[in-house]
């Protein structure tokens, strides 16, 4: 594993302080993580060790900085006029569920101010706090990185059991979600597994959209800067044909499949 596994319940994340969020950075004109124009808060800390991670600098649970949630609300209010009917705030990462208690508070504050909330998650944790957070999440962007548990583990360092349970739970609430899938040649583009992935979710009624995100090398320099071993250094992005093929397979199961 290129980065050691960390426990998130230690002081590093200041779990019980609802007022401070450990974040990596903020993007003010987010147009790729949820609908419309969004303020995207990238939280710090993640337990997945995805081989293709584009933000390895958000993994370390001790990194980033604590920012008062009120400050984030204030920032969101400064951007509210740009959000229009569709946009709002997306919390991405890192893995937001590691800080789900704080996010419950954050999303409440956003809703009080009439701001739409979106959570971009790999579905790492499912407990009553996750459920409470999902209740406050207007749209869930769930990354289901592989349908096969072994491949999922090879790809991310962990199995996909909880992620699938989060999807199932979301489905049971009837609230909308988008599924996201990073297409990595040789790792997540096996035809049989794409079909299996599609079949698994085909009957879900809450899936509004499936987004295919073709693997790219734009995060490569971060690995180099951090001195991490980057296994996919020589992996090429999928060709247009490969991406279209994956999309065609997904379209057998879903009405709305989009290539990012």
């Amino acid at each position: 594993m290129y980065f050691p596994q960390q426990q998130y319940t230690d002081d590093s994340i200041d779990v019980h302080n609802p007022d401070l969020l450990r974040i990596h950075s903020i993007e003010t004109l987010g147009t790729h993580d949820g609908p419309g124009i969004r303020m995207v808060v990238f939280v710090q800390g993640c337990q997945f060790r995805c081989l293709y991670c584009q933000n390895p600098d958000t993994i370390d649970i001790h990194g980033g900085s604590f920012v008062p949630i009120e400050e984030l609300v204030e920032k969101a209010l400064h951007q509210k006029s740009y959000f229009g009917k569709k946009g709002g705030v997306t919390v991405s990462g890192g893995e937001p569920l590691l800080q789900r208690e704080k996010l419950i508070h954050f999303f409440d504050r956003l809703h009080e101010n009439g701001i739409n909330t979106c959570l971009d998650s790999n579905g790492r944790v499912l407990d009553s706090k996750t459920e409470q957070l999902l209740e406050r999440t207007d749209l869930l962007l769930l990354d289901v990185k592989h349908i096969n548990k072994e491949w999922h583990k090879k790809l991310t360092g962990l199995k996909n059991k909880t992620t699938l349970r989060v999807a199932e739970y979301r489905e049971s609430t009837g609230k909308p979600m988008w599924l996201r899938y990073v297409l990595v040649p040789g790792w997540s583009d096996q035809e049989e597994y794409l079909h299996e992935w599609g079949k698994h979710f085909a009957s879900y009624k809450t899936i509004e959209k499936v987004e295919i995100i073709p693997f790219h090398q734009l995060g490569k320099h971060k690995w180099e800067v951090m001195g991490l071993e980057y296994q996919l250094a020589d992996t090429q992005p999928p060709t247009k044909e490969e991406v279209n093929k994956a999309a065609e397979i997904f379209r057998l199961y879903f009405k709305n499949v989009k290539i990012k």
Binding site: I26, E27, T28, L29, T31, H32, G36, I37, M39, H78, Q79, S81, Y82, F83, G84, K86, G87, K258, I259, K260
Partner: protein, 744 residues
């Protein structure tokens, strides 16, 4: 296609009793709430014409930016015979001279400038023309005969720059709709009545007004003669849509035959013309293709407007702009939209003829614009980067009228009722350096502003700097106002805009449009002094050559009130000072935060500043944050600019914004929707203006290396658009280094 007046069926109103185009539009306009699907492509004739134009434009570029110059004739309404591109294919006719892209001499702004423009190209003004100025005075000579040593010093030390004292001031917008609506004879009648009404005891004002009206009447008569050379009779109103477009163009052509003002705006003709087009479409006299052909060919002509400029002019107005600014869209005060199908047709020219910097198409943005129009504007911006946007919801209530155009780059101008006098701009960072150097300029040390105390040595104290800076700004305003008084007095006297003024009410209200450059440097410099430790580095004669900055400080462009409020405060101080001084013809002072492309030249002429900017480095354009200092994303950057108060800068607050397409979304539909969101969001915060560029930095770098591959590449700079390849290499590089918002 030809119809008689009987086919025109208009609702009557006050416009029938008096010259009141606005009332005609209000009574007869057909607001359009739909989308762009009805639009047509270019006609065969249009394509043939534009091919000829493109070939000539290529020759012009190859020939160092100028195809031909007439060195014998002083251009006015009647001095050139008719000119054509290709007569049989021209639906809308008329050229400035007798040959496509041939430039003409208009020496009354300053014969010297004309002579140097010709000399640079190895030509000479004919003896006959030169001789005239042995007897007659021009604007330039007259202004300098009244300048004092103070103004000369401010001017030569780059504190006041780009002053229209050796070229024509421009900016005055004729109500070009008046000719098609009323015909020239009716306008002459009205002007004669205005003359007759100037009675009683004479005053300077009355005498001047009488002389002006008489000049206007002579211009109107000459317009008829000019139209006649094209076989057209404009003494009577337009009888159909074709004539309405043609007459409007001839009215505009009159202005650019007589004047070569820096900016020669068109106004807001599109929805006026729509009334005629709708009428003829409904009567079955024309098809949509023909309607589009009128507009395409009209716009083609506007793209071909040329003025004779010397090389030095390119420093302040890069890329040979003409500012044929047409304001499109916006809302009526009665709640209806001003958008018509012809608003769409004007934008469609950017597809039918390809991207172009001129005419300078300006969208008056309201939150209430029809969605179909908002989407089409965003789409056109993404495809062509040829549009700019201004806040209709802000300007309309603040300035009072819903019948307005945009003068020059960004300035509100009520049409036909008021005019503005162009005031160029003051270099605020230069003023700050003079404040820090006891009134001496930072380069050689000569005293420019008297009675400025010398700062104490050591770390700069914010309050002391502010005190001295305020005193300095008061002095700058005093001398600036004085120079503008002289300039406009003389311009009226020696280079009066008789053609434009003939199409404006006889005694209109006037704004004097002052300007300020470098607001972002001022905000960051004062912020550095306030929040970090700034120590001047002085040379052996005590002049600041650099600044040592210890510690960090808030920078303008990050939505940080600590520094954004400084930009607001200084703007207010400066306009308040300017308002203390009387202006020529009692004009009302306004202020712009705008640089055109002169931000490069300002940088060259300004020493190191306390914000860490080194001597010679370019300023940010307009009210933009400095390059690379807006590090909290696009919206934070927009928000900082949106905080500048329009009340303090009614002449305009220019912001130029560049994005890579991907940053707007992953497909066209998302990009359109998100660009609309940015505009709605920005203008909801009472921001004033936004230039939108949607392109890759790589495209610009490739165009820098291989200009031949990008003849029509258009980018928005400060308040206008240019053909990128026609900018100087220095300006091209400056554009490339500007902040691109490209996070994805």
């Amino acid at each position: 296609m030809k119809s008689t007046t009987e086919t025109l069926c208009f609702k009557t109103g006050n416009w029938n009793n008096t010259i009141d185009v606005y009332d005609f539009v209000l009574q007869n306009v057909s607001p359009y709430e739909g989308d762009s699907k009805f639009l047509s492509g270019p006609s065969e004739r249009t394509k043939k014409l534009w091919d000829i134009c493109k070939e000539n434009l290529l020759q012009e570029r190859k020939n160092n930016g100028c195809l031909a110059i007439d060195t014998n004739v002083i251009s006015n309404l009647t001095s050139f015979g008719p000119g054509y591109i290709d007569k049989k294919n021209e639906v809308i006719v008329g050229l400035q001279t007798d040959q496509l892209l041939k430039r003409a001499m208009k020496p009354f702004g300053g014969i010297k400038l004309v002579q140097s423009a010709l000399a640079e190209r190895g030509l000479q003004v004919s003896d006959e023309v030169v001789k005239i100025f042995n007897y007659a005075k021009d604007h330039n000579q007259a202004v300098f005969s009244a300048y004092d040593s103070e103004i000369r010093a401010f001017r030569s030390k780059h504190l006041l720059t780009g002053l229209p004292d050796n070229y024509a001031r421009g900016r005055i917008i004729g109500d070009f709709r008046r000719i098609p609506l009323y015909g020239v004879d009716r306008l002459i009648e009205a002007k004669k009545a205005d003359f007759a009404a100037v009675g009683g005891e004479m005053t300077d004002h009355k005498v001047r007004l009488r002389e002006e009206i008489t000049s206007q009447i002579s211009a109107l008569q000459d317009m008829k003669l000019m139209a006649h050379t094209y076989g057209l009779d404009i003494s009577v109103p337009a009888a159909n849509a074709h004539e309405a477009v043609q007459f409007t163009y001839l009215a505009y052509l009159s202005a650019v035959k007589e004047q070569d003002g820096a900016a020669m705006s068109l106004g807001n003709v599109s929805s006026f013309l729509d009334i005629y087009i709708e009428n003829d479409l409904k009567s079955g006299l024309i098809t949509e293709e023909e309607a589009q052909e009128f507009i395409d060919q009209f716009v083609m002509k506007l793209r071909l407007v040329r003025h004779l400029r010397p090389g030095s002019y390119d420093e302040i107005f890069g890329g040979d702009p003409t500012w044929v600014t047409e304001a499109i869209g916006g809302q009526f005060n009665d709640g209806r939209t001003k958008v018509t199908k012809t608003s769409f047709r004007f934008l469609q020219t950017l597809y039918n003829l390809g991207a172009s910097p001129e005419p300078n198409l300006t969208i008056l943005w309201s939150q209430k614009l029809p969605q179909g129009f908002k989407d089409f504007c965003a789409q056109v911006s993404i495809d062509t980067s040829s549009l700019q946007y201004e806040n209709d919801d802000l300007m309309r209530p603040n300035r009072g009228s819903d019948d307005y155009g945009i003068a020059c780059c960004v300035s509100y101008q009520k049409i036909g009722k008021r005019i503005q006098h162009f005031g160029a701009r003051a270099n605020l960072p230069k003023a700050l350096l003079m404040a820090l150097n006891g009134g001496r300029e930072e380069d050689k040390g000569s005293v420019v502003i008297k009675n400025i105390p010398q700062m104490k040595d050591g770390v700069l104290d914010y309050d002391s700097v502010m005190d001295i800076f305020k005193t300095t700004l008061a002095e700058v305003a005093r001398v600036y106002a004085k120079s503008m008084y002289i300039i406009h007095y003389m311009h009226d006297k020696y280079y009066y805009e008789r053609a434009q003024m003939a199409l404006i009410d006889s005694d209109p209200g006037i704004d004097i449009a002052y300007g300020a450059a470098g607001i972002s440097i001022i905000a960051d410099s004062l912020s550095a002094i306030k929040y970090a430790k700034v120590t001047p580095v002085r040379n052996d004669i005590g002049l600041t050559v650099d600044f040592n900055i210890e510690g960090d400080f808030p920078k303008y462009g990050n939505d940080d009130d600590r520094v954004d409020s400084i930009a607001q405060e200084i703007t207010k101080i400066f306009i308040d000072e300017l308002r203390k001084h009387r202006a020529y013809k009692d004009a009302t002072p306004t202020l712009s935060l705008l640089t055109i492309t002169s931000n490069v030249m300002y940088g060259t002429n300004t020493g190191s500043t306390p914000d860490g900017r080194k001597a010679g480095e370019a300023f940010a354009p307009g009210a933009n944050p400095m390059h690379g200092r807006d590090v909290n994303g696009a919206i934070a950057s927009l928000n900082s600019v949106s905080k500048l108060s329009y009340d303090d800068a009614q002449d305009g607050i220019s912001n130029t914004f560049s994005m890579v397409p991907k940053s707007l979304g992953s497909d066209k539909e998302e990009q359109v929707s998100n660009l609309v969101g940015i505009m709605d969001g920005y203008f909801a915060r009472n921001a004033h203006h936004l230039n939108v560029n949607v392109l890759d930095k790589e495209t610009l770098m490739d165009a820098y290396e291989h200009p031949e591959n990008y003849p029509q590449l258009t980018i928005r700079v400060s308040g206008y658009a240019v053909n990128f390849v026609r900018l100087s290499k220095a300006h091209q590089l400056e554009v490339i280094t500007r902040t691109f918002h490209e996070t994805m």
